[in-house]
């Protein structure tokens, strides 16, 4: 091969490899975006059925019921509340009245089946999704009151 052709082949090879990689990355990226919804949005059926999403809010007081390994609790944004079912061990910072984010899907019976429950590393720290849900519900509430 002439040097020129060779250089062309190398450049074409790199462009091709990067192109394939980019397609791969973007495809995986698109199908793994996890969107966040508040209990009010889920109650209003805004969350997509059959797709994993994150639900955030506060764990309702007195709602945690354990039955062996499986546990049920209710996530609320003070406007609406969604029942959640989870199998396994809850994180250390999971507490009634504290912020929580659950990742999973809504089942046929309207119960949110969580695959993962997140409560982050700091006692004072509210998961951003949870505080966003509370703020949104509070804003909707005050608009309702004005009307």
């Amino acid at each position: 091969m002439t040097p020129r052709r060779k250089r062309f082949a190398i450049v074409a090879g790199i462009v091709g490899a990067v192109g394939v990689a980019a397609a791969l990355v973007l495809n995986a990226f698109n199908s793994n975006l996890v969107f966040f919804y508040s209990p009010s949005q889920v109650a209003a059926k805004e969350a997509p059925a059959g797709r994993t999403f994150r639900l955030g809010g506060l764990v309702e007081q007195g709602s945690v019921k354990r039955d062996g390994v499986s546990v049920r609790f209710v996530v609320t944004d003070m406007a609406r509340a969604i029942p959640v079912r989870y199998e396994g061990i809850l994180p250390d910072l999971f507490k009634e009245g504290k912020g929580v984010v659950a990742q999973g899907q809504v089942g046929g019976d309207g119960v949110f089946v969580a695959r993962e429950v997140l409560a982050k590393h700091d006692e004072n720290y509210m998961p951003p999704e949870a505080s966003a849900a509370l703020k949104r519900a509070a804003a909707a509430d005050s608009r309702g009151a004005q009307r």
């Binding site: 091969m1 490899a17 990355v25 990226f29 793994n32 975006l33 996890v34 700091d122």
Partner: protein, 671 residues
Amino acid sequence: MIPELGQIALLLALAAAVIQGTLPLIGAARERADWMALARPAAQAQAVLVALAFVCLTSGFVRNDFSILYVAEHSNTSLPLAYRIAGVWGGHEGSLLLWLVMLCGWMLALARFSRSIPAPVVARILAVMGLIGAGFLLFMLTTSNPFERIVPVPPNGNDLNPLLQDPGMVVHPPMLYMGYVGFSVAFSFAIAALLGGELSAQWARWMRPWTTAAWSFLTLGIMLGSLWAYYVLGWGGWWFWDPVENASFMPWLAGTALIHSLAVTEKRGAFKSWTVLLAIVAFSLSLLGTFIVRSGVLSSVHAFATDPKRGLFILAFLVIVIGGSLLLYAWRAPKVGLGARFEMVSRESMLLVNNVLFVVAMLSVLLGTLYPLLLDALGLGKISVGPPYFDTVFLPLMAPVLFLLGIGPLARWKQSELPALAKRLRWAAGVAFAAVLATALLAGRITLGAGFGVLMSAWIVASIATDLAYRLRPIGPAPVSLWTRIQTLPRPLLGMMLAHIGVAAFAFGVSMVRSYEVERDVRMQIGDTTEVAGYVFTLRGLRNVKGPNYDAVQAVVDVRLNGTPVALMHPEKRNYRVQGTALTDAAIDRNLARDLYVSLGEPVDGGAWIVRVYVKPFVDWIWGGCLLMALGGALAASDRRYRAKHPRDAAAPIDDLTATTTGTRPLEAGA
């Protein structure tokens, strides 16, 4: 008084840093030796002052001086002394100070071990590092002062986050920062090369040990972080693709590409401007990592809104450093040049593929980490990018890297023949397939992931063995002893082999854990047993334990295999008194073949607990592999010949490089 002393030391350090960052630079441009000579003493002055400030802050922690706001927020009288000292870097302000201490350490080392480098080059490098130091000092003094006082003085402190009260967390940040900051040396070399308009093979030789050492520290730092997450978070996972982890992984990926491209620049004089760009990118990502982890932007982008000064400073600093160096690159890179040519099949071309793949991998992590932050900052909604994204992207990108790792080190520079390579590696390929077969027979079943992992790790190890056997073959009618032959192998080569064996061990560990681990969450009462992967776990008892600053429930779990006792494990659920935080302290029984992992979940009715029981085969190989990589890097960087003077090389054109180096002793570092 002591905090004020620390404050003054920081102010004076800023003055020293400004002098260090300006005068030597001007001196180098105007060829004024006296101005250039200022670089070393200024760096030393800055180092002494920063160290003094660090000692002042540490003494605040040791003496429980809660009149310092930072100490009050991160310490408590009941905290053991070791954790009070570690508390110095338990928060934002102290971490910045630690970062500066590390920077000064690297500066001192550079000032000391740069006698063989020409004065203008040293002046420029130290000046760039001085400017970085000045930026950090300014940031601390204006927005994140660790010595700020609090009135009235609280009677006691707020305690250190219990998650950080762990030996792993004591050493993890310093190691990580050594790596981050170490890339500033490579960065300064790159900027100095752009300013001076030249980057010879000799430059690459100066840069290599520093970059490799920084990379080793970063590897070690990431390893410690992962190990810590494994036993402290109570989940038994070792990598979560959490933004905090990604922040340290991105500079590592760029740094890995950099040490490989530096090899090409040193040996063949090729990839010159690419090496410079990678050095800039690696350090920029280190800066980004430091800031996104420590500024609070990850828990909420609105952390910036509550303290806009801090956020604006960080953004401005990043824009100046990254934007400025990229502009300089665009302007000056053509002067540095591309370097020598090479054939389609050669070690250069394989390292080029390695570089492309590592950079694409780095960009994909960058996308997954920054995109959610960006959307949130723009108010376009909250999303997160799940671990499956990173998994699906990473495996296909790293698979060819692992495969090429078995070939690249055996390929010749400039031009290599595929048939010859294939012939040399046919045994290695055979060994790799045999290993997969053996695994399948031993485990009874095999998954695609496990099969691939074993194939690649055996392939890499067998290929290194092939290479080693060739290099150690007896030559001539009266060959020297094997030991003498081993001793003549250059350290960089041995370091590379060690690090690559580490990669193989890592890949093996990951594929084994992912394919064969068994996890079970069970409800257990005293006397209950559960069986996981042949191991019988029995809950023998529960007792209350009192720690220095926590109360805990401790379980006693007895483990048997076929009736023989294997281990007695003591997992704890702790409650830290000051902050009232619960913490799961997992009990782990380690050996090379498997980890037994027991952690307490939560108490349920009837005195029972939900207990998490894992059996994780070969999980320690993951960290062992990282350790080998770091050791390999250290071995390579420690070669004396990097520091020796090569006056002829500096002037020699690239094509003569091999000829001139053989005059001394060939520095036969591989990739």
